[in-house]
Symmetry: C2
Subunit: 278 residues, 2 copies
């Protein structure tokens, strides 16, 4: 732990400064620097944050965002325009066009941050932001390159920006991207992310396949390895699952259960409709 | 590309200096900084390097290293003692004991680098090194923390240290660990690795499953995403496959085919016994 902390503080030359506005009683960033224990008392003590964190944008057998449409409409009620972040995929124009068409079908206008002359200014005035899935390393690197982490974090924590993420977009809402499934195809200056929740998400969670002959680690084994090195709990979202965070409460939504991993405890299941007690 | 290069050069404060001894006509590190194109002429022009890079240490239905035993015995012929690197797993003592017992059965004595008072000195005098599998990020971070990358690289390039790696241990022989399958549970100061070969390895390669309902990227999709951001070719080793590098030649060994990914070209297959022409 202290090795990690030292190494990270030694890299400050490329890590943006700590945000000054940190309404959590324990900063979610504290869990990166100190691997702080998260207690019940610290769980989403900021009641202003509004998040919809989706495991996967497409569920097998249905179209893009279909399985989440009801929840998205409810979460974005009253919003007219959504700022889209396409950085996780290479084809930003194509991705933005696809999302604009899909959200138009729900009555929302979409602008894409990659087409804005001043991306930071877009973030400063948006009502809602949607960060799409793809490669989490590519996404986080682009968020750093465009200096967007601080304004997104600050406005989400102030309660003036509703935040919706899918897959990689849900990973970057967490303290770090250390529980992504993605390949590190590019190197962001840090694995530190937005820290809007005091836990890690593992999207696309898949249970061990008893018939598999592959000898690589199962997802559960990978998350237990994460807990060997980190104290932050992990919410593993199976495909079809999503988290809604509002009023200081974290609720599991969608059609699939989640699996909760904490150091020193056996994993436990959380069913849709249940509140997450960390 | 240039974004990546700039970002990485901007992080020099925490990256060890470039090695001074680089016998490749294109430095393997060059492929990180510049994403240089690798041509046939540059393929393992250093004929001194001797490597055995294994996809997986255990093959389904057999015991630890069983499927590689014949190749290991041949590769290590004449070696009496092997230096083991257990950093990829948390339980270093248990890992070292397991490997010592297994290699003793092949007639090799084993010392583990984590039990040495001076790990660098061990590397400087070893005849052969074996870097075991586990989590690639944890392994690479420990190699940085113990300042072992430079001496391993230099001695392997001089031809005085035979290098054997399995899974994560094969990943770190490559220019970077950007083609690992592992979760980034800790943060090394850089993804740059040993660069003993001018290509990337993806171990535990698995073909797309036509019956899968999981919507996460297939391995092939992940490697194509890597090639969107990097020019270095990728040798994807299915379980049972391994590469033997000697006399400037790269040969596929083992019982499974490999799949070769190059930017702008369709993936192609390489069968055991064939020479890799990059």
């Amino acid at each position: 732990m202290s090795e990690t902390a030292n190494r990270m503080s030694g890299r400050e030359c490329n890590i943006p400064p700590m945000p000054t506005h940190v309404p959590f009683s324990i900063s979610p960033l504290g869990s990166i620097y100190n691997a702080s224990r998260i207690t019940n008392e610290d769980n989403m003590s900021n009641s202003l944050v509004r998040l919809l964190l989706i495991s996967n944008s497409t569920l097998h057998g249905s179209g893009y965002l279909d399985h989440a449409e009801g929840e998205i409409r409810d979460f974005l009620a009253g919003v007219r325009q959504v700022l889209f972040v396409p950085y996780a995929l290479r084809d930003r124009d194509g991705y933005a066009a696809k999302v604009a068409e899909r959200l138009a079908g729900m009555g929302f206008r979409v602008s894409s941050v990659h087409q804005a002359p001043d991306p930071r200014a877009e973030v400063e005035t948006a009502e809602a932001i949607f960060i799409g899935g793809g490669n989490t390393f590519r996404l986080l690197k682009a968020l750093y390159d465009n200096d967007l982490l601080d304004p997104i974090r600050r406005r989400a924590q102030e309660g003036s920006l509703r935040y919706m993420g899918a897959s990689a977009g849900s990973n970057v809402a967490c303290p770090t991207i250390r529980t992504t499934n993605d390949m590190p195809i590019v190197e962001p200056p840090s694995l530190r992310a937005l820290g809007l929740v005091p836990f890690q998400i593992n999207p696309h969670y898949i249970d061990p396949d008893p018939n598999s002959t592959l000898m690589a680690e199962t997802r559960e084994e990978r998350l237990l390895q994460f807990l060997e090195e980190n104290e932050t709990p992990v919410v593993a979202l199976r495909e079809g699952a999503m988290l809604r965070v509002e009023g200081g409460r974290v609720m599991l939504k969608g059609v699939a259960a989640a699996r909760i991993f904490r150091r020193g405890q056996p994993p436990r299941e959380l069913v849709p409709g249940a509140r997450l007690e960390l």
